[in-house]
Subunit: 415 residues, 2 copies
């Protein structure tokens, strides 16, 4: 079964908003065996919306629409859809009571604009919005289903998971599909591809698709198979994944699509151990990634972000003369940062980062991208030098990843 | 002039990669007076790519294509494009030498797959890639320009800015367009819309478009005008923006599209003052946002992330009895965090955050979303209580924003 996504909003075309909705919906569709054929973004313009509805309706059995349903006057989606399906707008009492309840809950006054959100095309099935004021709308026309959802991500996600997917599952009998993703860190796409050449050829003979999905410092290998029986597809793919550790084992940190910081969290949680960090070049990003996981307070105690040299002394008791002698970006300082923060906060493990994220601050001896990372345990502290590139954002991300990978290797006794 | 964007890659449809390229390209096109009409994502499939090229070529004068050019074998874009334009592939000596130089620079061995990246369709104009191995390709067919670029964001961005935009400017005579964005924090979209009703009506009579662009805690108001003379459009929009402070002044933090953390950085830099932060519920996100700005080391000294109660004592000398008596999420603790970190690190200003980000940890008295934020100066320290929602990620973002907004107001003497 084919689906298409239409996202609506001038803000998407003018680039003031990055569309994360359609990526999330694509994941959910794939997990449910629905193939996303195409996605298109159009402006808040009745003709463009009508044309997109018509084009997608010709190719797909399900057309998912997000955006263009906000309370403000630049939104014309609802009216255009009502016209397209030949319906009039009516006030929906249930939706109105949802909107009223939401305003009551947040103790805010309701405006006339908010009331209008409770209007819906008369022939559609209304999907109630538990998290916002714009209802979803489900239409059927010439055997094609069209579902309009709000553009606010958490409103759309709840509606899609709780309401849209169950209705689609009920409506269609879906083909089997199986995906699995292997996560690698610290190895480039081309090098991986050449290392895996033979293995990749063996996938083709088993009719398994492979995609390399690179992100800074990370390459994900996604295996996909379509067929009749989910169980067979699963076994076929899992057999191939079991061959990978012998080929690229030291780069693999997960055999499912899990971010590195979640792997770190799961590992520490299962061991009952605690972590602290001492960050210079990562500037809080490492702590932020770790604490983005709910429940991280069970194993993460805290971090020091010591951007200025004086702060390295003030928070971590690293003598100025050590910093002056070795430089802030040095093995000695990285080791002391990790060791001192671990002791000071009484944790089992510590990761430290000190480097030159760029774009300025580099020298001939220590160019931009030079990063020292250390990991301390109760028994040892070790540091490693990395040479990343010249992009600040990527250097920050890669430093955080390299630190977490070093921690995992230290725990496994491989570093 | 109309442009369309085609992004290519199964990973976009299956949702394993969020497309940030097209948003960025949309911004650049708008800044250059080129209107993005539509963007579409298709799979790594020759038919889908051909259909998208043909559809976009009928509607637009410029078709921009990204993705599908990596070194691995799932990439078929180059071959499909060569076929579509009736060209054969040839080895390009300049591109080959670029690829070789890149591998030399990073001290890595070149693979046979990498060599193939230097093949290009024989009739296209080659756009050299300064940051990666896949070259860009510029085609012209029936008066329409097609430009294929790599999908890796920093490779695409450099090529687009340095090569594609100058070539498009040379080729077309572009219409005048002017955008300006006003940034607000701490006020919802509906409330803004109702407050600005009269002002908004006055925009319509001057033929100025208005869009409300909400993000967690932030609403951007984007004004747009098209016409003949850039200078007239600019003056017309700026006159309307000057009316806003009287209506919603206390929510405005910028009258250009600048993130809050950059406004904070610019303000501190111009005053020659320094900032530190003490974070609990924001978990390093505040420091990360601040240090994502290059040069932030000039005014940001560091942060403590004190997730565990013991860490609040260990790093910030807050007595356990104070924490036990008031709770970690309390005015008293927020005040001491800000005051102590400022003194300890000898900074001019400090922001502290302590709250319950969720999803767990809430109580009847202090539900999820309860956040105390304090700002300390050399003369004063003040705290404010916020009640955000029940989404962890949003609560972290909104807490960081509220803290930065409080700092700006403190500096202006408004808090």
């Amino acid at each position: 079964m084919l689906a298409e996504i239409i996202t609506i909003g001038d803000e998407l075309l003018i680039g003031q908003v990055v569309d994360t909705n359609s990526a999330w919906m694509g994941q959910q569709l794939a997990l449910n065996g629905i193939r996303l054929n195409r996605k298109v973004a159009v402006s808040d313009n009745a003709n463009a919306i009508r044309e997109a509805l018509s084009d997608s309706g010709k190719r797909a059995q399900v057309v998912l629409i997000t955006g263009g349903l906000g309370p403000t006057k630049d939104d014309i989606t609802k009216k255009t859809m009502a016209d397209y399906f030949g319906m009039k707008l009516r006030m929906d009492a249930d939706v109105l009571s949802d909107v009223e309840a939401l305003f009551k809950r947040f103790n805010r006054e309701m405006t006339p604009t908010n009331r209008l959100q409770a209007e819906v095309p008369e022939g559609c099935t209304v999907l109630r919005n538990k998290n916002g004021t714009a209802p979803g709308m489900w239409f059927e026309k010439d055997g094609v289903i069209y579902v309009s959802m709000p553009g606010v991500p958490y409103e759309m996600k709840a509606m899609f998971s709780d309401d849209v997917i169950p209705r689609l599952r009920e409506k269609f009998s879906l083909p089997a599909i199986y995906h699995r993703t292997v996560m690698t860190q610290g190895i480039g796409e081309s090098w991986l591809s050449d290392t895996l050449e033979e293995w990749e050829a063996s996938l083709q003979s088993e009719n398994i698709g492979l995609a390399y999905l690179p992100a800074p410092g990370i390459v994900r290998l996604r295996l996909t198979a379509y067929g009749n029986k989910q169980q067979e597809l699963r076994e076929k793919i899992n057999r191939k994944i079991e061959e990978l550790p012998a080929l690229i084992g030291k780069y693999i940190f997960a055999t499912d699509d899990i971010p590195l910081h979640e792997v770190v969290g799961n590992t520490l949680l299962s061991l009952g151990k605690t972590l602290v960090t001492a960050e210079s070049c990562t500037g809080g990003f490492l702590a932020h990634q770790i604490t983005s996981v709910a429940g991280s307070s069970q194993w993460f105690l805290g971090s020091t972000v010591t951007y200025a040299n004086e702060t390295k002394t003030g928070l971590l008791d690293i003598p100025q003369e050590i910093i002056v002698k070795n430089g802030a970006v040095s093995e000695e300082v990285a080791l002391r940062m990790a060791e001192n923060v671990r002791k000071k906060l009484n944790a089992d493990f510590a990761i430290s980062t000190t480097g030159i994220a760029g774009p300025s601050g580099g020298t001939a001896e220590k160019p931009v991208g030079t990063v020292w990372i250390a990991v301390a345990t109760k028994d040892s502290v070790k540091a490693k030098l990395f040479q990343f590139g010249d992009n600040r954002e990527r250097n920050i991300v890669r430093s955080a990843q390299a630190g977490m990978m070093m921690l995992l290797k230290t725990i496994k006794g491989e570093f």
